[in-house]
Symmetry: C2
Subunit: 410 residues, 2 copies
Amino acid sequence: MRIVEMHITPIALGDPPLLNAAGLHAPYALRTVVELVTACGLTGLAEVPGSAAVDAVLEESRAVVLGADPRNWHALKGALEGHFKPESSTARGDTPWDQRKIVQVFSALDVACLDIAGKAYGVPVANLLGGIVRERVPYSAYLFYKYEGARQRAALDPEGIVAQAQAMVAEFGFRSIKLKGGVFEPEQEVAALKALRSAFGPEVPIRYDPNALWTVETSIRWGKELESVLEYFEDPARGQAAMAEVRRSVKLPLATNMCTTSFADLPGSVRLGSEDIILTDHHYWGGLHSSMELASFCRSFGLGVSMHSNNHGGISLAAMTHLGAAMPNLSYALDTHYPWQWEEIIVGGRMKIEDGCVTLPQGPGLGVELDRSALERAHQNYLRCGFKERDDEPEMQKKVPGWKFKATRW
Amino acid sequence: MRIVEMHITPIALGDPPLLNAAGLHAPYALRTVVELVTACGLTGLAEVPGSAAVDAVLEESRAVVLGADPRNWHALKGALEGHFKPESSTARGDTPWDQRKIVQVFSALDVACLDIAGKAYGVPVANLLGGIVRERVPYSAYLFYKYEGARQRAALDPEGIVAQAQAMVAEFGFRSIKLKGGVFEPEQEVAALKALRSAFGPEVPIRYDPNALWTVETSIRWGKELESVLEYFEDPARGQAAMAEVRRSVKLPLATNMCTTSFADLPGSVRLGSEDIILTDHHYWGGLHSSMELASFCRSFGLGVSMHSNNHGGISLAAMTHLGAAMPNLSYALDTHYPWQWEEIIVGGRMKIEDGCVTLPQGPGLGVELDRSALERAHQNYLRCGFKERDDEPEMQKKVPGWKFKATRW
């Protein structure tokens, strides 16, 4: 079985004005859709965070991908590693591809190859990741501070956050809640978390992520306040050493998708003890196979596994759900931005979230198909909107002149 | 797809009088063949080290296995973990199943389920482990001190070992050599290794395994002698702490299948730095999926991967070859006892080793089928020979009266 076509389509999906540590979401979230086609007519889909830089690496990978057998992922990955290794790039005078872009390319190709293999074998992708351990995969309600705009009201204080949570839980049935923080000073965000706790009670777990904007001291000071409030505390401070220091002083499980983000970071994680829970994200860990490998590492070293999310569409939601269906030691509901989007590029439109869960798509492979006219509309949006990468800082400056990102703010 | 039949067949295969740290091989090597059959008529095979104790755990697993979907390995494994967990066993007043037996049961079922899945999907098992990275899998010539008896002459001194190596390399084309040691005093075994080096030159890597019979001091003393002789030094001393101590003093890669033998041992391996290379063996690491997880761990932590072997037949050789074909970071030729056996229970008889390699079987699944009459003969041998587990000590006592196994001998 050989891959004979590779299509790379950047798209833009409408996005509300969500606030976060990096600034403000632009009116469009960028994604890139990758489509592989085999000589025998099977198609594999994947979706990765969109940027002109990643699109360029995808384009560069085409020569290696065409002709490869999609059922032999590790062979294709090995060929790509050879192609992109720093020495050979330098020798060819090419772009010095950085590892953060390459893992996204690995992710796109791994997912698309699995989609093809599942279709070839007549089984869901989850069967090819060790098998299905659950059919209904739980997600959490992902709350954001936000300005007035698309999807729900403004939410800029504890009352707004509680109202947002109530609306999201009512619509989708989520059983756990995450607040994206790092927007306001710690006191205000901690007040919002306490308000959520009062509103929902202890049976709804709450997680909180100030995106590493806090010092170790701030993290410990406010972490102690949150010990009886949170399920887990995600990336309060920056880097493994700082996280380890916070972890020694605060009686809360610490989670990360910022200080331990690749296989190369695992030895440091073990040495320093930087977290209790690693958030996988198949887009940043190199695909679904790699995410299963991470889960195995977490099991051996007594760590929990949860899942990080960026804005995404249905192809990624399907891939995340297959991973969640296959991962034996998935300890927590998965994060997803999906409720914040309203457009879709797959046949059938928006996927359903019911009782806080996405049911594993039943078709072979990922179980989703491209809606060609919706894809074309989303691609035209990409061309029209002019964004080439995600950059929340200039968006924020439109609201707050002179606003600057700070790696450590409080 | 549901499993509706499970057959457990203990067999005995003729074995030569091979010497090792535990004593002497009996005239028969025991294996257990496991066969799963689905309602749709697909059959999955596996083979594990034979013992009445493991057969009993396999028998106990039957209630969980029947009705399971062989394409959902992690779900079946989870159900077995629940069934065999110490508390529930105690509550039921059952045998307190130890983890070493349970991983062999996991191995048998994982392999048989993969064989079924491969047949259902029409692809080799290696495709279901991340894909094929090599079609020809290299094995090493596995040398033993031996008495006169089946297969080749006696080999009890350096000349005998060199002659054995030359005969084995001539017949199978092996490009690397392993000597099983722990039989004679270190000086004599080191002399045999130096004789091998003189006879084959530096282009044929040599590995050596005294099976942890040496003290740390002996390991360092003779390890230094071997620095220019060996590819790697396997389990000179017993336990992670002793291995770490040897490793700090000897400039040779240290390998193990004795001090780091399960996922629970990995944190200790990292903390102490006990070895450079972990020898997987799908029979003892819980199957092929688990062995791939171990390989991923080794890649992240900068360790090499090689493969351990016991006596085995063609079903295991096929499974080992699929694993070797799929493992991207297989750093060394695999160990195999296969050349020491002469009987076979698969259709077509003995598998071929050419140029030191086994070519990946091409059929779907494992690519091997049971020869029913050969299986029956091997089962009758089992019933007739009276052995219920491997025990090399009484065999050795027939040759050397009063011989006793010692955990540390030199």
